[in-house]
């Protein structure tokens, strides 16, 4: 997954259009490199296979009225 530069190039091309972003030609290589680094990090996490009973960490507090939803704001 992480070394398939052509696929990441194609992914970026499609995704930036759908998101309304512009990547100038001189930024392109750097953005793809960062995508590949992010993919490597994500792959490392996914390879671990945490138990399916392990739910995502974020919690929403319906009682909070603060802008940042942190307990002490």
């Amino acid at each position: 997954m992480t070394d398939d530069r052509e696929n990441w190039d194609a992914y970026m091309e499609a995704a930036i259009k759908l998101l309304g972003l512009t990547v100038r030609p001189e930024w392109r290589e750097a953005v793809i490199s960062h995508l590949i680094v992010n993919a490597g990090a994500a792959s490392s996490v996914a390879d671990f296979k945490a138990p399916e009973t392990c739910l995502p960490a974020p919690e929403f507090d319906p009682r909070s009225t603060s802008a940042d939803n942190s307990p002490k704001s």
């Binding site: 992914y11 930024w27 680094v37 994500a42 942190s70 002490k72």
Partner: protein, 462 residues
């Protein structure tokens, strides 16, 4: 107290003002003069709030003249990372784009608490753009330089928050820490930094980077000051004069605390100084136990994914409209982050819960875990790579090697500054505690400072 009041700690300055040995106006003037004289060589400040500082000082002096009790930070010069809203000042967030915004109409909650406690706000501080970096370099405002060796990085992203204290322009600052942005500049600049438990301090009025991981916290030149600041910032009930609730805990020292050194990931990769600093601290505390935080490398990877994704999403509109106005060093990473598949984020958050549970279990047998804060002394400004374990790797992301797994699960940490024999630059050690046990980490930090193992001398800037 030192002959130059600005070299005093927060506690010493507040006491001197309370005893009328120095006026608050004198303290404001001294700090403003220090910024005038020193800042051009460091680039730590981006805005100086002269009128506000002098007005706040006048108010403190008037209270004293009326015989009223002074609040705990009366007359103490402070400054805040320019990520915090300050009424009347545009919140730059280290960016060019945000300086087109109108000035903030109110202080961030923590800035308001400093003001209520009598602190004098001297200005706002340089940082990596949108808090997305560890170097203190900034394409718009210039690099923030290390006061102990100005050709070296201050560390980031709370760059000016570390440098301004190390240079004694102010006595305390506020920074933020998503992946290490308080602990890295504390390590590189040789000051004490507290990253409290996730959620312990307000983030209201602070521009986010990655809300899942963002923390706020203080930096200062003493562990006792961090305890006092923490109590002020969390709005703990206080009676003045006298030590604040967390300060009172410090008298217990490190005695009786079960302390271990982090092994595995935290013993690997770093330069010799990172491990030597931990050894020095461990020896002083007579620590021989070692614990392993399982899968710490994956924890770092998961924090990396969350930061990229949340940062990219937060800045999506700015990336659409004004991508060319970003600092090139952050723009390309935010663009890549904006393209993150959602499944990666969910997996990272699932792993976060797993990792939290495993590390929590370690605190059944230990109160404190020691780990390096940074893999090396401050690199030179502009240094793009360094060699870790024989492999040349990019400097920027790898500075956070040891801090990211800890903030990933929101544990409280005090970064303590250590000077190794013959070293020209300091390096930090993380003193890590269980959630909501800032008091324990601060007890160890205070003990280390009292024993001379950790210290934050003011830099001699040549």
């Amino acid at each position: 107290m030192h002959i130059d009041p600005l070299y005093g700690t927060v506690e010493e300055i507040a006491e001197a003002v309370r005893l009328n040995e120095v006026s608050a106006e004198d303290m404001a003037t001294l700090a403003l003069q220090a910024v005038d004289a020193i800042n051009p060589r460091l680039g730590a400040f981006t805005d100086v709030t002269t009128d506000r500082a002098l007005a706040e000082a006048t108010e403190i002096d008037a209270m004293l003249a009326r015989g009223e009790p002074l609040p705990p930070l009366a007359g103490v010069p402070v400054a805040v990372k320019n990520l915090y809203d300050v009424a009347g000042v545009t919140t730059r967030a280290g960016s060019r784009i945000n300086r087109d915004n109108p000035p903030a109409d109110a202080d961030a909650v923590l800035v308001a608490r400093l003001k209520r406690a009598g602190a004098l706000l001297i200005g706002t501080l340089n940082m990596d753009e949108y808090a997305f970096g560890f170097t203190g370099e900034n394409a718009h405002d210039g690099a923030c330089r290390n006061p102990h060796a100005t050709e070296h990085m201050s560390g980031g992203s709370s760059a000016g928050a570390g440098a301004s204290i190390a240079a004694a322009m102010v006595a305390a600052t506020l920074g933020t820490d998503t992946n290490g942005s308080i602990r890295v500049p504390a390590s590189f600049c040789g000051v004490f930094g507290l990253k409290p438990t996730y959620g312990a301090l307000s983030r209201a009025g602070v521009t986010p980077l990655s809300p899942s991981l963002d923390h706020t916290g203080p930096l200062a030149r003493s562990a006792r000051d961090l305890a006092l600041l923490f109590d002020v910032l969390r709005d703990a009930p206080m009676t003045a004069p006298g030590p604040s609730p967390t300060m009172r805990e410090l008298d217990k020292g490190a005695d009786g605390l079960r302390i271990a050194v982090a092994g595995g990931w935290f013993r690997e990769k770093g330069f010799p100084e990172a491990h030597a600093a931990v050894e020095k601290v461990a020896k002083a505390l007579d620590v021989s136990d070692e614990v392993e935080l399982p899968e710490a490398g994956r924890a770092r990877a998961a924090a990396y994914v969350l930061t990229a994704a949340e940062g990219g999403a937060y800045h999506l509109e700015r990336l659409r409209e004004r991508a060319a106005d970003f600092d090139p060093d952050t723009r390309d990473r935010f663009l890549a982050g904006a393209l993150t598949p959602s499944a990666w984020v969910t997996e990272a958050q699932r792993f976060r819960r797993w990792f939290r549970d495993r590390v929590s279990a370690l605190f059944a047998a230990h109160d404190i875990i020691l780990a390096p804060a940074t893999p090396c002394h401050a690199p030179k400004i502009g240094q793009k790579t360094f060699v870790l374990d024989g492999e040349e790797v990019p400097t920027r992301p790898n500075i956070g090697l040891y801090t990211q797994p800890i903030s990933f699960i929101g544990l409280p940490v005090v970064a303590v500054p250590v000077w190794l024999d013959g070293a020209r630059l300091p390096i930090g050690v993380q003193v890590i505690a269980a959630p909501d046990r800032e008091d324990l980490a601060l007890r160890v930090a205070a003990q280390l400072q009292e024993d001379g193992i950790a210290s934050a001398p003011v830099a001699s800037i040549i």
